[in-house]
């Protein structure tokens, strides 16, 4: 099976993060009737992408701005790859120290959620100034 690839670039503004979530929800339509993903999993992927995009706006760009925020989704037979790229500041450390979030806290759940939802997460800062967070969800048999 050939991989399906979806891609969307929006301005790095919190109000535009919803458009990236919608791209995740469009997976089922783009993948065709042979690939029906369980609705609960799609909701969780959308949540993880939303958390990652919000982190990029807040921490890489330091708030709403006109910088690019790009989500690319590659749908393969055994896995989905979500790549979120920005051109803001580099993450200071990676992998980050897992925050000890004592509920009820009002924030700092983002990375915990991304790691809970995705099977593999890694970050890359390229020489051209692009940050890319790659999140992989396995969808093959036994996933």
């Amino acid at each position: 099976m050939n991989a399906t690839r979806l891609c969307l670039t929006v301005e790095a503004r919190l109000e535009r993060v919803a458009a990236l979530r919608e791209l995740v929800h469009s997976l089922a339509r783009a993948s065709g009737p042979a690939r029906v993903f369980e609705a609960e999993r799609v909701h969780r992927w959308a949540l993880a992408v939303s958390e990652a995009a919000t982190n990029a706006v807040r921490h890489a760009y330091g708030g709403d701005c006109a910088g690019p925020l790009t989500l690319e989704i590659e749908v393969g037979a055994a896995q989905l790859v979500f790549r979120l790229s920005d051109r803001g500041r580099a993450a200071e450390t990676w992998p980050p120290t897992a925050p000890e979030v004592a509920f009820p806290a009002e924030g700092s759940y983002g990375l915990m959620i991304i790691h809970d939802v995705m099977d593999d997460v890694h970050y890359e800062r390229r020489a051209d100034g692009t940050n890319t967070l790659t999140m992989v969800a396995r969808v093959g048999a036994g996933a």
Binding site: E40, P104, G107, G110
Partner: protein, 117 residues
């Protein structure tokens, strides 16, 4: 996000939300919630039946409301969480911390009963 407040004379105030609850909309909810808690001595129910998506920023606004209600010793409950919005509660285990009911009516009845007890 649209926010509407219903204040019955004999029961908890109900905050009805419509739209995604995310980093863009959560400041609006937090401000509305804290203002309502200042004046709601019979408790507050947040009706999430019209909310298809909640992220950690949205959860943070609800946590701020919960903390404020506890400080004021006011009842606080969530109602009508959609299946699509449940993940954030299970991943963070917030579903063990909030009082959660299937409908706003059930949440209001619980808070009214707790107040009498």
């Amino acid at each position: 996000m649209r926010i509407q407040t219903v204040k019955p004379s004999d029961g908890p105030a109900v905050l009805q939300l419509e739209g995604d609850l995310d980093a863009a909309s959560s400041p609006q909810l937090k401000a509305g919630l804290l203002a309502l808690l200042d004046a709601a001595d019979r408790g507050v129910v947040v009706d999430l039946a019209g909310v298809p998506f909640i992220d950690s920023s949205g959860l943070g606004a609800l946590v701020a409301g919960l903390k404020s209600a506890r400080q004021r010793e006011i009842g606080f409950a969530l109602a009508g969480i959609q299946v699509a919005a449940q993940a954030i509660f299970t991943i963070t285990m917030a579903d063990h911390v909030f009082e959660i009911f299937p409908t706003a009516e059930a949440a209001s009845a619980f808070l009214a009963g707790a107040r009498k007890a």
